[in-house]
Symmetry: C2
Subunit: 372 residues, 2 copies
């Protein structure tokens, strides 16, 4: 768990987090498992029952409460935080509660395990402490990616694009293999292209693709099927996420026609991702085209999600999200059409909003490539 | 996400969960990401920002609140629960809160994301609802493994043992490779031996092994080093976890002597895992031998953790845990000796308590095998 990010970056981020706490009236920020912790300290907590928690009082020093046996993994960042290792028979939640006088408002990390919040409620009941999500504090920092973060997203996107190109070139065998085998193959290629971790590799063929989050399984892929591949991983701390479909043999006219609609909808969604537009305008732009073509009932999810250190994070491209898109917002644009019992398709790129317009992180061929 | 567990098993488990709720005074059980959900329903939730939650009122029907786009993944279990799919613009926490009249005591899953509990506190403040951990309800069911579960632990343990045997036989190249490369190799072998997922593969050589949870990195393994390998995965829903050390060349006397102590301590810990003994007697038995040999300060963690569908779960073999060991309790016994800046060693088996005594799930050679 080394980090190549300079300490000065963490000091700056902590200062900005405290400024955001003042602006949002948060007295204490508590982050554990998830990406806020490495964003603020460079250290990623193990998702285990032993609590690791960075405690940031608005006006005091930050403390990293950490199991003693994991303390050697931390690269200390002088001036950013001090360590408070705890022993196996200590109560780490009591240690956390003692670090801050009962706060009026405490912000807790989204993916922190609920068991620690349950225990914390014993010290800070919700009648005296109002709990809010850490996004209340951290979105002001994390949603707008800086130049280094955009470069990392671009590198991860380019690596995913190379795997997509291998798919399009027919280098990833499909017919006669199970979805699970193809999923493992794609995962290995993501690693070979530079990713550190595979986050998911959905492979869904034929009617399985009508389930947007299908779990790649024992189905043996056959000629004539449409195959949806949605994959991504983490590379140098930032995520990739791309979806492409291929047709094994010439697609039936119905599928080709639907794909043309999907292709147009996805491009419209990307084009709508301009600075100043409300996030839901991206959803509306893509959905309008699919709805106008008569497929509205088959587009059963939002158009996109933010991405960065997390595969899914704010901002979400969903009806009702009126947040204005700002420079540095990074998000997916991934409309889909799913006809239960028959077929499914989705087309996805990651896009970063810039003052010069939407900047795609993925440029792999957007066509429905026919193989075999 | 198919399951081969018969619906009758889920109906029985839900009935026993409700009995446990009555015994422990819990009005509503809420489980999300984690293993309680597949234990009760066969369905594993995706760890995403879209809420999946099984709501079990003590005296009413169970409901699975689930994102509509994930609903096709669920294998329905008639009579066990009904589905309540929610759409992208719905508020799933409000849906959950409406399913149960404000409960006096609500039990929530340990690994549920804290953001959902934060939102739930808006509906059920902690002044009127006391939140407790779902273990309050579920430990009565899950700690004591039934015959099918023990068979699954045994199969996973045997698969991990085969990888350990490959390590001992010198089939896993060490010298000249990085820890990360060896870690990936071990992971691939766990899969080849039947695991569905690799949960971790710690490889720590030389002084790196003094950090018990060392992240396998770029260190190139050299002749003369002691190499600690701690690995495990999930196979048919149940976990393996084993640690073995190998010495590249004859170990120095100091290391050989320490290993002899460790070996004896681990065996003593296993032998102490008898039905009726307090859990911490396992810790004490192992620790006493290490302490008596003068290494006490170098054994910096508890002796073990429970294991089952989770890699770490109750009961924990730690000082202060006076819970009596019961038939079917499954746990690790893994003392270690860690000398900072020099070397580290750990020896670990999974053990199931039975009326006939402790039954090890791992039987791979316990000696410090010398290679090269």
């Amino acid at each position: 768990m080394t980090t190549t990010v300079p300490t000065a970056v963490f000091l700056d981020r902590l200062a900005r987090a405290r400024a955001s706490m003042r602006a949002s009236g948060v007295d204490a920020l508590l982050v554990s498992v998830g990406s806020d912790l490495p964003y603020l300290t460079g250290y990623e907590a193990m998702p285990l029952e032993r609590l690791t928690m960075l405690v940031v009082p608005r006006d005091g020093d930050a403390t990293l409460v950490i199991p003693r046996l994991e303390a050697p993994r931390v690269v200390e960042q002088p001036g950013a935080f001090t360590m408070r290792p705890w022993d196996e028979t200590d109560d780490p939640v009591a240690i956390v509660a003692d670090l801050v006088a009962r706060p009026a408002v405490a912000a807790v990390g989204d993916t922190m395990w609920a068991r620690f919040l349950v225990d914390l409620l014993g010290h800070w009941p919700s009648s005296s402490t109002r709990f809010v999500r850490s996004t209340t504090v951290m979105n002001a920092l994390r949603m707008c990616k800086d130049a280094a973060e955009i470069a990392a997203l671009q590198a991860a996107g380019a690596a995913a694009d190379r795997v997509a190109a291998q798919l399009h070139a027919g280098e990833i065998a499909l017919v006669g293999r199970t979805e699970a085998e193809v999923s493992a193959d794609i995962g290995a290629r993501l690693i070979a292209e530079g990713h550190d971790v595979v986050n998911f590799a959905i492979v869904a063929a034929g009617e399985n693709a009508a389930s947007p989050h299908h779990h790649a399984g024992g189905h043996v892929i056959r000629d004539g099927e449409l195959v949806l591949c949605d994959f991504g991983g983490t590379m140098d701390g930032y995520c990739s996420d791309i979806t492409r479909c291929v047709s094994l043999g010439a697609p039936p006219a119905e599928v080709a026609d639907a794909y043309a609609v999907l292709h147009e909808a996805q491009a419209a969604g990307v084009a709508a991702g301009v600075v100043g537009a409300a996030c839901h305008e991206v959803d509306r732009a893509a959905r309008r085209i699919i709805t106008d073509a008569g497929f509205g009932q088959y587009f059963i999810h939002r158009t996109g999600h933010g991405i960065g250190m997390e595969a899914h994070e704010d901002p979400y491209m969903v009806e009702g999200n009126t947040l204005p898109i700002a420079p540095g917002h990074a998000f997916s644009v991934e409309p889909g059409i799913y006809v239960a019992g028959r077929w499914g398709m989705r087309l996805e790129d990651i896009v970063v909003a810039t003052v010069d317009g939407p900047l795609p992180m993925n440029v792999a061929d957007h066509a429905l490539v026919t193989l075999g």
